[in-house]
Symmetry: C2
Subunit: 578 residues, 2 copies
Amino acid sequence: LDYQHVQVPFEITLWIMLASLAKIGFHLYNKLPSVVPESCLLIFVGLIMGGIIYGLNDRSPPVMDSDIFFLYLLPPIVLDAGYFMPSRPFFENIGTILLYAVVGTIWNVFGIGFSLYGICQVKVFRLQDVSLLHNLLFGSLIAAVDPVAVLAVFEEIHVNEKLHILVFGESLLNDAVTVVRTNLALTFCEMPTIKSVDVFAGVGKFFVVGLGGVLVGLSFGFTAAFTTRFTKDIRVIEPLFVFLYSYLSYLTAEMFHLSGIVAIISCAMGMKRYVEANISLKSHTTVKYFMKMWSSVSDTLIFIFLGVSTIGENHEWNWPYICFTVIFCLIWRALGVLVLTFFVNKFHVNTITSKDQFIIAYGGLRGAICFSLVFLLPDFHRKKLFIAATTVVILFTVFVQGMTIRPLVDLLAVKRKRESAPTVGEQIHIRFLDHLLAGIEDISGHWGQYYWKDKLEYFNSKYLQKILLREYDQPKSSIVLLYEKLERKHAIELAEAGQLGHGPAQPSLLNNDRTVITDQKLEDTPNPDVLDNMQEILARNLYRIRRTGPAYNRHTLPGESEPGEQAKEILILRHKKL
Amino acid sequence: LDYQHVQVPFEITLWIMLASLAKIGFHLYNKLPSVVPESCLLIFVGLIMGGIIYGLNDRSPPVMDSDIFFLYLLPPIVLDAGYFMPSRPFFENIGTILLYAVVGTIWNVFGIGFSLYGICQVKVFRLQDVSLLHNLLFGSLIAAVDPVAVLAVFEEIHVNEKLHILVFGESLLNDAVTVVRTNLALTFCEMPTIKSVDVFAGVGKFFVVGLGGVLVGLSFGFTAAFTTRFTKDIRVIEPLFVFLYSYLSYLTAEMFHLSGIVAIISCAMGMKRYVEANISLKSHTTVKYFMKMWSSVSDTLIFIFLGVSTIGENHEWNWPYICFTVIFCLIWRALGVLVLTFFVNKFHVNTITSKDQFIIAYGGLRGAICFSLVFLLPDFHRKKLFIAATTVVILFTVFVQGMTIRPLVDLLAVKRKRESAPTVGEQIHIRFLDHLLAGIEDISGHWGQYYWKDKLEYFNSKYLQKILLREYDQPKSSIVLLYEKLERKHAIELAEAGQLGHGPAQPSLLNNDRTVITDQKLEDTPNPDVLDNMQEILARNLYRIRRTGPAYNRHTLPGESEPGEQAKEILILRHKKL
């Protein structure tokens, strides 16, 4: 037996196997996941595993390594989140998200830090040796909402899109703040005196870190899109580039102390549209499937490791400090959301209701990022207290808040996610309004989001597409792509049911629809029933357009197959009546 | 800049990126890959990279780590090979393959070892300090044909299936021999005297190592199939199980000093049929795509690393020894193939022609496995000589033999692979003959391959399928599966061409075809034209069967949609005439 030789890959494979089997196990009992969030169950499995390891070895089980977490487990989840991010609600609410992510997080840091320092002054608690700086340091890591935990819970409760993107966007973008804060705090620890100019320099650094991340991400994203222009002969390695370039963007950003999360999200959002157009259908399926698979496994592993790491002897259970941490986390987050939303609502017509505010405050879950950060703290004699407090806050938020948020959403009747995808009519209206508003903004000289969106679209179709797309001379509008996708899906269903003998013909809308319509929304949330419905609407509409179209269009010759097509359609209509 | 922090994943990602870009680069020039095999080009890229590293750092570039090779680079390639292995020719020729792999390899070991020892006795060459045991040790690692190199070259020259499987099967199965040989040789090095009983114990170990590998592989394969029974609710992690279980089988076999290659191949071949039936279509696409992608990247990395490792100062250039190594490798392989084939031909009707024998002998390429093994040799003062000789043999076989084998195949007019997939008629005849021969063997009391195949098939449908398949009560015969696959493909094509309005109906063959037909061959080599052709044949045949079928079948009710179907078909036929 030569275990040493294969130890590393063997143990990694076994952990992944455990995670996958745990996932299967939960889904075998259909009722369980609808009551308890999966994240809680996984932490529970981790606790049991940790207990077993502790019992067998009689020493603390290994804690999750911060390097493993940040370098290997976090990127797949963030990549998945960025790639499937609904871009429209994200960009519509970008101002609010940034406000929560930057100002809100700083508010929480100082709020929690100073309050805990106040608690430390109470003699009974025997905490007088914890300095203000250490409290602020602790506040800085416990303040950040965790994207992994938020995703795990919010994906199951189906609140409306805006609410979801507000909480989730905040949790993603506060990474820039977290990176700077952690670096600053560590530097401040070593400095003899802190001048106010240092504090301002720190605030300035936020922008460098955030914008730097965006820049790194976009440049890797565009390179990825450019590379996939040349993969026509070796389709098989196409998916690889999506993963390699995203990962490189993350690592590069981390290397330069920029925000890796922001970088990988920019990369994914930047490349998505072009890569999808360049690579083959099967490659695309593989990319999507593998991304989901990878992030789901990472997610599972993180929660299991969280559970395992909780067991052990590296905690100092000073309960007053721990309890006040939980309380201050809740209070300061609630206050922060209230105050910030007050200002946000002043400037918006579509306000955030008080129910939404409650869910935003209540959905501020903490998770593995805090946990990894607390181990990266410089060693000092009460580090174990911080570890214990972080563990309790995470378990409290994931278990108590995570399990009660669904009943609360039901109770408050928070506006849910639309069950149905928007109809084609709605889509066309939204696009029409976008164009109209862009025109109005241009005339009135107000450079709002529609103006910039329009300019970006123009820049995209004029320059970017020509460089990044393989067949740039024939950009298909997304409505045609959707139609083709639906047709394909329908065809497969027909073939599987063995009824390949009906249906409409050629999507000749291609040349009739001359505006560049490129909303990503259409591609997301494919609810089968609604899609079928849409397909029928589309099919009928396309049919009519084709009937009336060609006469008005100077770019298409009346096709040679037109008479045959018409005859076929008549036949189809007739056999439908049979 | 914090490079240390991200160094490991960053460099791995960069190497993979380099490999992928190199692959794209070659395919941009269409003429290049048709003259020079890709493996040669990749080694060349590696040589340049190595030269650059050597030039910049002024010290030898890092050599390929044997652990990295055996634990991370080799498994994906072997998994891919095993998963897509055409099982019929493999099992038909298993005897010949085993003879080449076991007896042939031992022949080469002793032939090369003793001849080189003879060369060492010539005083002029100054090699008298190389002992017989060291020569045999060297012979034992240089004798093995390399599956990675063989695959890379033989996939491009398209010789007939039997020839391909003979060379490729040998290269895979000699791994069991290699494992035992290497362990034995290392043990013998440490033993004071070697008794003949030790040699016999060594020969007995071959069977333990080989059969143990098969056992480990099959048990993991069946566990994988069993696991995928329960993944219905979380399709997204289905592909993961295929990879996890195969990798675990490889690692477990390696851990117990069994043959990892044999284990992973048995695992892949054992699970394939059941896993494919259990998982969803998209998961299956992802599995196939990712397997191909992974093996292709591993393959590329191996050849690039081979090139990089060649540059440097860990060689001792004793040219007589090196040249004689190359010559003996060629001579002993040629002799071995001649002698063994003489015996094989005595017992077979379908003999191996002399042209085939030449290609088998000439196709015995050496590759990265030898290279990794030579670094694992125990340290002794002339190890660098062995490294140099191994490097030269690999470069000679890959460059000279790899580049000339295609012209030679053309020149000798070696029988090529059939361009067309077998027609449905042929398939049915082959299956009919299989059943007939199984019956004849059973009656005559001769337990040959058909008898065992039939028994295995019976065992499979009686027990294994019930345990391993999700819907075991309705096993679809492969001809129906093929038909569905073709229909789906056709439907997609129709949808993409926008002509969804023709085609045949329900595959009602399901209940007419009651024999369990399960040839894997049908699934392989899907040549689009031929598939289209087959589909038409199938469609026409099915149509006729459906017309005549139901009257004879007591298990199906005359379908309620029958009259409508008929009307539809008449319509389809009529509109085809338009």
